[in-house]
């Protein structure tokens, strides 16, 4: 047990200050109306994702329960009370398909970022903590990754893969981790400079302990902010791959794929591309609002 820890727990002043800090953080978040709006949008999408089968008027049109439905007699109906977003070339209800698409997009975002963080953060931690030749080499590698735009690199990776949802996530995660490695690396360096890490080393704390107790909590805030900002962008990249035909294949109700299919029926069936695209726009906007609010709240710089 280190001294610093006992002091922290017993000193009411510190707790008091922590509570004040937290209050200020919450206050700052509330000060930013856009971040509240972002939070509402995200909650809305999560709600839709969970309850899609109950909200969607025609769940089977989106392939729910592996019972894909087609109604060629209803194809290309323009938006109406019955079909809010109209129908597609197979007479399927676009509204229902867009609702179900929420599940895919959120899943892609979460899986990609979870994978990217669990590769990138350890790499950054190790590189930053060890420093020297190993650290240098690791960061050079990440630099190389960062020199190619993520979408292009993801495309390059997906050449060798079958186009499907899992591989899209794999491809994006494979090119996304360096951003987290770089961010963590920078934070570790700046935290290392600060004296308290020196101090905890001085009283005999092990390296692992230093990493987990001192450095990790400090990199948490910037990583959270970056994840929130990236979530939207990862969804966007996945949708782009879908749009190019490299992601989920029809009839999966993936938004990017739907926009791409709708393109073939432009401009007469304008609704086909428009509504799935709107959904992408809204979810990305929500995450951007939220991420920006979080950035103000934690007062951190990312990228």
């Amino acid at each position: 047990m280190s001294n610093s820890e006992t002091v922290t727990a017993d000193d009411p002043g510190v707790l008091e200050r922590r509570r004040e800090d937290l209050n200020r953080v919450v206050y700052r978040f509330k000060q930013n109306p856009m971040s509240i709006l972002g939070l509402c949008i995200i909650f809305g999408f999560v709600f839709i994702a969970i309850f899609a089968p109950y909200i969607a008027p025609y769940p089977n049109d989106a392939g729910y329960q592996n019972q894909p439905a087609v109604h060629f007699d209803q194809k290309f109906e323009s938006p109406s009370a019955e079909h809010l977003f109209g129908t597609d070339q197979a007479g399927r209800d676009i509204f229902s398909r867009v609702l179900f698409g929420t599940r895919l997009s959120l899943r892609i975002g979460v899986v990609v970022l979870a994978a990217a963080v669990s590769i990138g953060v350890p790499v950054g931690l190790v590189a930053g903590y060890l420093g020297g030749g190993v650290g240098m080499a690791l960061m050079r590698i990440t630099d190389v990754f960062l020199s190619v735009p993520p979408l292009v690199l993801a495309l390059a990776v997906s050449v060798a893969l079958e186009p499907n949802l899992t591989n899209v996530m794999l491809a994006i995660a494979a090119v996304w981790w360096p951003w987290y490695a770089r961010l963590t690396y920078g934070e570790v360096l700046s935290v290392k400079e600060e004296t308290y890490v020196e101090a905890s080393r001085g009283i005999g704390a092990t390296s692992t302990r230093t990493i987990f107790r001192e450095i990790l909590p400090n990199v948490l805030a910037p990583i959270t902010v970056k994840m929130s900002l990236d979530m939207g962008y990862a969804i966007l990249v996945a949708a782009s791959l879908g749009f190019l035909g490299l992601g989920a294949q029809p009839p999966t109700p993936e938004w990017g794929t739907m926009v791409s299919q709708g393109r073939d029926y432009m401009p007469a069936q304008w609704w086909y591309s428009t509504f799935p695209g709107l959904a992408i726009f809204l979810i990305v906007l929500g995450f951007n609002f939220l991420g920006d609010g979080l950035r103000d709240m934690f007062d951190v710089e990312v990228q």
Binding site: R140, V144, S147, A156, S240, L246, T274, F281
Partner: protein
């Protein structure tokens, strides 16, 4: 003096990045599950055919040997055979690259000329309505999927209003200007071919605007924050105390310094822009390198895809090198790194 040393140092540091880039892309293309020859020929091809292609592509050699063969080729301008066009990938790229370059460059020019003033106005009116409006506008821009934004522009401006063509690079113009640079705008100007120039411009506008949306937002935000930061500096107060007009302070002194910060973002954005070009070129049927790259991926044409990725990565590195050089022009302090006390 500092100039030359700085440039040399910065230039040299790009070389290992190039090497790393080539290794990375090469590794991705060869090591990832699924072998290139099998991918290229498809599952129904006979094993013998696959084996022949492997030998033909040199895939039976050890990996490091393959790499050096490839790099040797690259240095001589040989990027391997494309499986779809049956030409050298380098030849294909020479044909398609200028169209992409023209598009992305114009998009970047639009982004700078819209984004920087937007950022300055927002910075000058910090926390008042022009700032909030610009902030909201930026959020919308970065959140728009480029392919969808392109489709909306096509729907409204091309199909509904009929103002501009929806797809392609140039209309039915004859004679077409002789290709010298491959940049249609430049070529048609060189040949004083007004109809071709007008048509090319009309075709460029929508895709260029689509591509510029996200960088506009980034540049505006970056300019705003660095402008505000710079406006707070002591020397600004000093200039004001000496009675220097506010306009001169803002545009001569403050903007120059904050533009240097924006340049960094411009370099990064160029990379994202090259990425977005892949979807935007598809939307607008733009005959560029990105369209070629997408085709290559769909057809599992490994050499073509590696070539495209290499060119994209290299352009990105070069743009960032150029940005760093320009940075020194706007903020001469970097040149004196080390020779000041």
């Amino acid at each position: 003096m500092g100039h030359r040393n700085y440039l040399i140092k910065r230039g040299l540091s790009t070389i290992p990045m190039f090497v790393g880039l080539s290794v990375l892309i090469f590794t991705l293309a060869r090591v990832i599950p699924g072998r290139p020859a099998r991918l290229a020929l498809g599952p129904r091809a006979s094993d013998e055919a696959v084996q022949n292609l492997r030998e033909q592509m040199g895939l039976d050699k050890p990996l490091w040997e393959q790499y050096f063969d490839y790099v040797g080729g690259v240095i001589q301008g040989d990027l391997g055979q494309s499986l779809i066009s049956n030409r050298n990938v380098a030849t294909d790229l020479m044909e398609y690259f200028p169209a992409t370059f023209e598009l992305t460059t114009l998009a970047m020019i639009i982004a700078v000329f819209v984004g920087v003033p937007l950022g300055v106005v927002a910075g000058q009116h910090k926390d008042r309505w022009p700032d909030n409006a610009s902030r909201l506008f930026s959020f919308f821009n970065v959140s728009l999927p480029p392919f969808w934004a392109g489709i909306l522009l096509q729907l409204v401006i091309a199909f509904q209003l009929g103002w501009l063509p929806a797809t392609g690079r140039v209309g039915d113009v004859s004679p077409m200007p002789i290709e010298t640079t491959g940049l249609l705008l430049v070529d048609s100007l060189l040949a004083f071919n007004v109809p071709a120039f007008v048509s090319a411009t009309q075709h460029l506008i929508l895709p260029a605007i689509t591509l510029s949306l996200a960088p506009i937002a980034d540049i505006a935000r970056m300019t705003r924050s660095s402008f505000i930061e710079e406006y707070d500096k002591d020397y600004v107060e000093g200039l004001r105390t000496h009675g220097i007009p506010e306009r001169l302070i803002a545009y001569k002194y403050v903007l120059r310094r904050s533009f240097a910060s924006s340049l960094t973002i411009i370099g990064l954005d160029y990379g994202f822009l090259l990425g977005s070009a892949f979807v935007v070129e598809i939307v607008f049927s733009w005959p560029g390198m990105a369209s070629y790259g997408v085709e290559a991926i769909l057809q599992k044409d490994i050499n073509a895809m590696v070539g495209v990725t290499l060119v994209v990565g290299a352009s990105f590195l070069l743009v960032n090198f150029a940005v760093d050089v320009l940075y020194g022009v706007f903020d001469p302090r970097v040149w004196h790194d080390g020779d000041s006390q």
